[in-house]
């Protein structure tokens, strides 16, 4: 009987699979047993190889901007699933729903009454200096009064297993296609295991998304035309755009396919123009309409914003959501939850220091080698400093940057976030993982069970981004925990004094 975990080192960190050496957590026990039934590690590697080949043949790839050698890569897939118990998930779901509702109310408030600024809960200067704040949107009535439709919230688990929010992605969160593809692969590779485990399906996501998009159509339109707007095939997430459009049976369009006439949007087809009612845009605000935002954008559609402002077309996500992606605004989400919902946040943030705040800034500058510093508007693992791994030169550079532009940074402690067993060469080793659930905010809040588990494949690395050596795992949310005792750490509501 092979034991893949004979030399497995927990490294003193929270391990997703093992409570202690040789002692799997209850919801991982069946997986552990399945591995013992295998003929050897070679069997697992053979299956892994088959899975990789499937990804290549299916063209499930993403593009790395800076990498000249091969612009096209598969997002490495690790065959060991990340499993979330039903109890854990129920709690997480409640926290994510609460967060989504508060963020929606926050955005609505910012673009109308601005109560939260007037009452001084969040500094006005902070919000108005957000790179993605859109003054053009103030006072605009949005379809169904929803100011955000899709959020990809990044979560990590800290040393005692508590899930914490690392950041929100309210513009165009990507990665959901990998969740769906990963599950397809796992169904091929481990069909029986999936069935025995009662894993909750993820395939309902595209139906839920399509329902949401249809629901947003201008009033009176019975069968709306929904399209997905992509920056084009050279965008790093193009594969996902095409995948989602295909799954929903909607057209995938580029800016050049759309024209605006009489403040209505049309797409250019071989037989003439066809009216478009809802646009699932995977293009940042900046590029949407060169007559309003960036003048040099060739990707957008002239006149689109005016059509949107008049309610002739719906956009998902709405314009202006980017302010909540700002990591300095993220700092205030617990306050928003308190302010709008009168509740304590169920999912805590990661401890965060605002460098725009003088006292916190001096703390950050003194403790730079211990902290992670992030630019407030960068994503994808770019523009960040990992203090413990940085050279003296890098530390100095970042310190200078912070002093020069304190509004542009936040700092967080270097987190020992959780690890999950991962196939590394010819053995299992622990690698750091995060989790990005996808939250839809339509008639009600809907969350796909699980989400994207990203794994930092480099030993010791904390960066899970696909552009920087990250991979992914299938994420299993269990339909029920059976007789397993509830070992999930309870979510500790964050007490706030507002």
């Amino acid at each position: 009987m092979p034991n893949f975990f004979h030399d497995y080192d927990l490294g003193g960190l929270y391990d997703e699979m093992f409570a202690a050496p040789g002692e799997p957590r209850p919801h991982y026990r069946r997986l552990w047993e399945r591995y013992q039934d295998m003929s050897g590690f070679g069997e697992l590697l053979t299956r892994q190889k088959g899975a990789n080949q499937t990804f290549i043949n299916r063209g499930v790839t993403f593009t790395v901007y800076s990498d000249k050698a091969g612009t096209e890569k598969i997002f490495p897939f690790d065959l060991v699933p990340r499993i979330i118990s039903a109890t854990e998930w129920t709690r997480m779901e409640a926290g994510l729903t609460q967060r989504m509702m508060a963020l929606d109310l926050f955005l609505k408030d910012i673009y109308s009454e601005q109560r939260i600024l007037k009452e001084g809960i969040i500094p006005r200067a902070l919000v108005e200096s957000c790179a993605h704040f859109r003054p053009e949107l103030v006072g605009v009535q949005l379809p169904r009064q929803r100011h955000v439709h899709i959020n990809g919230t990044d979560l990590i688990r800290d040393a005692d297993g508590t899930y914490r929010v690392l950041e929100d992605n309210l513009r165009t969160p990507s990665g959901v296609s990998y969740v769906l593809e990963n599950r397809q692969i796992m169904k091929r590779v481990f069909p029986n295991l999936l069935r025995n485990y009662h894993v909750r399906p993820v395939s309902g996501y595209t139906s839920d998304l399509l329902d949401l998009l249809n629901w947003l159509a201008p009033a009176g339109v019975e069968s709306p035309t929904v399209v997905l707007l992509t920056p084009g095939v050279y965008n790093s997430a193009y594969y996902e755009h095409a995948f989602l459009a295909r799954q929903m049976g909607i057209e995938i369009v580029e800016g050049s396919d759309l024209v605006v006439q009489d403040h209505k949007v049309f797409m250019k087809r071989t037989g003439g123009l066809t009216r478009v009612h809802v646009i699932y845009r995977r293009l940042d605000d900046d590029f949407l309409d060169p007559t309003v935002f960036r003048r040099d954008s060739l990707l957008g559609v002239p006149g689109l914003f005016e059509a949107y402002r008049r309610g002739n077309v719906a956009l998902t996500n709405p314009v202006g959501t980017g302010i909540a992606d700002d990591k300095a605004v993220y700092y205030y989400v617990p306050q928003m939850i308190k302010f709008y919902l009168g509740e304590d946040s169920l999912l805590p943030n990661v401890e965060t220091y605002l460098t725009s705040n003088a006292s916190e800034r001096s703390f950050v500058l003194e403790n730079l080698p211990k902290l992670v510093v992030k630019s407030v508007n960068e994503a994808g693992g770019y523009g960040m400093l990992i203090g413990p791994h940085a050279t003296k030169k890098q530390l100095k550079e970042f310190a200078d940057k912070i002093v020069a532009n304190p509004r542009n940074f936040i700092a967080q402690p270097t987190l020992a976030f959780s690890r999950c067993p991962t196939i590394c060469g010819r053995e299992m080793e622990g690698r750091h993982v995060d989790l990005r659930p996808y939250i839809l905010n339509g008639e009600s809040v809907k969350i796909m069970p699980g989400g994207l588990t990203r794994v930092a494949l480099k030993k010791g690395s904390l960066v899970v981004n696909s552009s920087q050596g990250g991979g992914s795992k299938d994420t299993w949310v269990l339909a029920d925990d059976g007789d397993a005792p509830d070992t999930a750490p309870p979510i500790k509501p964050e007490k706030l004094s507002v």
Binding site: V253, K268, T270, G271, T274
Partner: protein
């Protein structure tokens, strides 16, 4: 269907067809060279030179490889060189880029088979060709292109995209066949051979073979491999699927299908230009063509094919939205 999508499907088919014809050309020439009787002819640098002119990229070739023209240079240039926009690799790469954008329209299977072909081809170079042996190597690649067509045939939905796909394929074929015939123009008969000599016959046979038309020609024409017979067959035969006229007739069918579902008059010029080309081919007299200049005639055909292409694009893809009707 989105105009851009129709355009991409159309070009996917054109690139695939172009790549396939390049393969056919090399195949036939490699065999032709082996048929040459004397060692002198065999090593004559002019044996490979005609191929360089086929796609009109000869300047680039001579810039890169100079003279004399060797088999290696020609094969590298026509099959594997990304700097030659008509090389097989470039064609498959372009087809792949287009197909990637429209994979949801042409079926995932279709995209996968093009993608795998590209990934396969990318690892090859002249050594692969030489070590495998020309005949076997080309046969394998031809089989792979046929595999793409077969997948398209069985997987692509029979909507407008399908007709744009076929339209592109036949239009490219009409153009390419005219260029293949033109190769013979550049095959200079060495001094001691003459029109109607054994070598001349062999060369015409090779032109037919490159269009997979040798046996069909023999069967239907029962004629000699004479210039007029072969030309008439490749340009005007109704049944042979790679003749120019048959390709143009097939284009006509596609265009009719595309226009069927549409109202308005935007597409009228495309239909008109295609009819003009059809009539022109029907009325062509081979004896007259030869007397007045084959090369010029073929050049003119290529121009006419291009005019149909341009009119089609203007009808369905590049039209002015302000003039278009709202469906």
């Amino acid at each position: 269907m989105l105009s851009r999508v129709a355009n991409l499907i159309y070009w996917t088919a054109r690139y695939l067809e172009r790549g396939e014809n390049t393969l056919r050309l090399i195949d036939v020439n490699a065999q032709l060279v082996l048929d040459l009787e004397s060692h002198d002819d065999f090593t004559d640098p002019r044996a490979w030179e005609p191929l360089v002119y086929v796609n009109g990229n000869e300047e680039k070739f001579f810039e890169l490889h100079g003279k004399p023209v060797t088999e290696q240079a020609v094969v590298e240039y026509l099959l594997f060189d990304p700097r030659n926009s008509s090389s097989l690799l470039s064609c498959v790469a372009s087809a792949r880029e287009n197909a990637r954008c429209v994979r949801d329209q042409i079926s995932s299977e279709m995209w996968e088979v093009i993608n795998t072909f590209y990934l396969h081809l990318k690892t090859h170079d002249y050594q692969t060709y030489a070590q495998t042996g020309s005949t076997e190597y080309i046969a394998d690649l031809k089989l792979r292109t046929q595999q793409i067509y077969a997948v398209a045939e069985s997987m692509m939905p029979r909507n407008e995209g399908w007709w744009f796909y076929l339209l592109g394929r036949y239009l490219e074929r009409a153009d390419n066949v005219s260029r293949i015939i033109d190769v013979k123009y550049y095959m200079i008969l060495p001094d001691r051979h003459h029109v109607g000599s054994a070598l001349d016959v062999i060369q015409w046979g090779s032109v037919l073979r490159s269009c997979s038309g040798f046996e069909a020609f023999r069967r239907t024409q029962r004629g000699q491999l004479k210039l007029e017979n072969v030309l008439n067959y490749l340009i005007r035969d109704h049944e042979f699927p790679r003749s120019i006229l048959a390709s143009v007739n097939a284009m006509d069918n596609c265009l009719t299908k595309i226009c069927d579902s549409k109202s308005g008059e935007l597409y009228a010029p495309a239909v008109r230009e295609l009819k003009i080309l059809q009539t022109h081919l029907e009325q062509s007299d081979v004896t007259k063509i030869v007397a007045e200049g084959l090369h010029e005639y073929l050049d003119d055909i290529q121009t006419r094919v291009f005019i149909v292409h341009r009119a089609t694009m203007e009808a369905f893809v590049n039209y002015d939205p302000a003039q278009a009707q709202i469906a």
